[in-house]
Symmetry: C2
Subunit: 346 residues, 2 copies
């Protein structure tokens, strides 16, 4: 007979239209048998260790029509779903064995039964912190890698601007660009983050966008000759200002638009004609569609971490009960670095 354990969960209350708030997620405790049910073939039952708070999750709180977005909605009255690091407790899937570590889509709860295991990655390297697989060695790391190397066609000496530059993706792109020999400036929303960008992450310069009454003027100050590459994590006003400041043949990689996710009516980008006149390429990308590059990315990233060539800052909230506040916090920029929730120690 399998042990029955208490299983605390973060339940998605209902679809929302504007600002996400903690009350949209409800703490609930039920019980669970630590065994994959008989009728579930190819499933794994995991103990969740770390959960990842990512901007795209806000979109899953909307009621999304079929094929209108790259993600589907959360299901009301079911746990929030997100990327996490977990340990296999039981398995009916021959690819995963008890006590193995994985990262991938799991539930916001202590234990999850994962029926669709196609996007789970086995964690083979444990000489780095396990939480890294929610960030620098996980989806955001791959997003930074794809957004910079695959999408932006960077060349040594080019000028690179990164918004939300202290975030999980931004801090990595900035360091990739510095490793290549680019001039790199980032924007962030607090003085502390701006200092981090300059000191810890080695950006050439950084500014607090909240201190700037005119983003166009701010970008002109840092890029008097213009921007070759813009890695956009925010959209809206900043994207509009960046378009104005791109060089001829500039490249804008659209990684996400966190400034827009809580808004019912998205801001218009007014400077599109400059995309014609300056022959700019704007490329949106969805990291989930690049998962096949993960092994290549891991081969690239692990040595950089082991050799201390890349800095990484994460913001770890303790306990599943802190998860709703942690997720809400990323939309006001309360986190410093990658926001993670520790559910349990291994």
């Amino acid at each position: 007979m399998a042990a029955e354990v208490s299983n605390t969960q973060i339940i998605f209350n209902n679809y929302i239209r504007k600002y996400a708030k903690e009350a949209d997620m409800i703490l609930k405790t039920s019980t669970m048998k630590l065994k994959v049910p008989e009728d579930c073939s190819d499933a794994v039952l995991v103990k969740n260790l770390y959960l990842s708070c990512d901007p795209y999750m806000r979109n899953r709180m909307n009621k999304i029509g079929a094929a209108n977005d790259y993600v589907t909605s959360f299901t009301p009255a079911e746990p929030i779903i997100g990327i996490g690091v977990a340990k296999v407790v039981d398995s009916s899937n021959h690819n995963f064995k008890k006590d193995e570590l994985i990262w991938g889509m799991t539930g916001w709860e202590e234990y999850s039964l994962i029926k669709s295991t196609q996007s789970l990655f086995k964690i083979e390297h444990t000489d780095v912190p396990l939480s890294y697989y929610t960030g620098i060695l996980g989806m955001p790391g791959l997003a930074a890698y794809v957004g910079f190397y695959e999408i932006s066609c960077p060349r040594k000496g080019e000028t690179v601007f990164i918004s939300a530059a202290c975030g999980a993706v931004g801090q990595l792109v900035g360091q990739f660009a510095k490793l290549l020999g680019c001039y790199v400036v980032g924007s962030a929303g607090t003085k502390y983050k701006v200092d981090l960008l300059r000191s810890k992450f080695g950006f050439d310069d950084a500014f607090n966008y909240k201190d700037e009454s005119n983003l166009n003027a701010a970008l002109k100050r840092y890029f008097p000759e213009g921007i070759d590459i813009y890695l956009d994590n925010v959209g809206g006003e900043m994207l509009d200002a960046a378009i104005l400041n791109m060089k001829l043949n500039g490249r804008i990689s659209l990684c996400g638009m966190i400034s827009q996710y809580n808004q019912q009516h998205r801001e218009g980008v007014r400077n599109m004609f400059n995309v014609v006149a300056k022959q700019i390429r704007m490329q949106g990308f969805v990291v989930f569609l690049y998962y096949s590059l993960y092994p290549k990315f891991l081969d690239f990233m692990l040595p950089l971490i082991r050799q201390g060539k890349i800095e990484y800052v994460e913001d770890i909230a303790d306990g599943l009960e802190s998860a709703p506040a942690a997720l809400i916090g990323i939309f006001s920029g309360r986190n410093v670095g990658k926001q993670v929730v520790r559910v349990a120690h291994e």
Copy 2:
């Protein structure tokens, strides 16, 4: 002693900010000696035969700051400048001889002294109408070629949408796409043009955007499965609607934004998040930067014309005095096909 002739000119009155009107161009007659002045080396004096009315010319009527646009302003009290077909009358440039035909940047006047000859092309093939070198065999033809083959990465069987589809660029892109085996729909602003698209140019379908209260719904009707390639000639609302209807990995080639040129405040594009979510690539391009491809383009295009495989419609206004009205007309879509002004018969 060189002959002195009367030289009627279309003079640019002054910078404008909103709608261009005929009164912004003034007819003036002066005299001119039919000889390149002694102090002008490497210049040509030409008799203009055909002048081209192109949307980008509206931008040259604005006061443009340095490096803010891909073109410079017209000079007030000087003739309008544009692409034309002309015959060399006198030359101090060893590349061009008397009686040779050229196309390139010339003045809106009967005779022009062209001091910068770098972007003049010699016309070698005269078995096609000379006016074609303002369109199908000139800059708009090259724009259609670059916008489709170089920028849009088209594949057989893909779905292609073209706005301002009856224009010089649109009608050619549509036919290129049909030759490749794509499904092609175009939009235009009159029933007559819509009929032309279906009958003469062989588009699979076409619609009058002025009859549609909801452009998003219109595009959904013609592209229930979505659009692979959008060749945007108009910008604004149509671009916003197209973004909503692109398929995953769709490509938008931004060729021009005629709907925006007469507006002081350009419309915002609100659906940019879909560019992320659908992994869309938007690429602006400036045909002047692709002039090196002209010989390759000519080798491609001339046989298609000679074999009758491409239809081409031009709208020829007669006489230099009709040029201001012809140029203003393209912004309200009064022209059917490529708008040309015949200044003189060869």
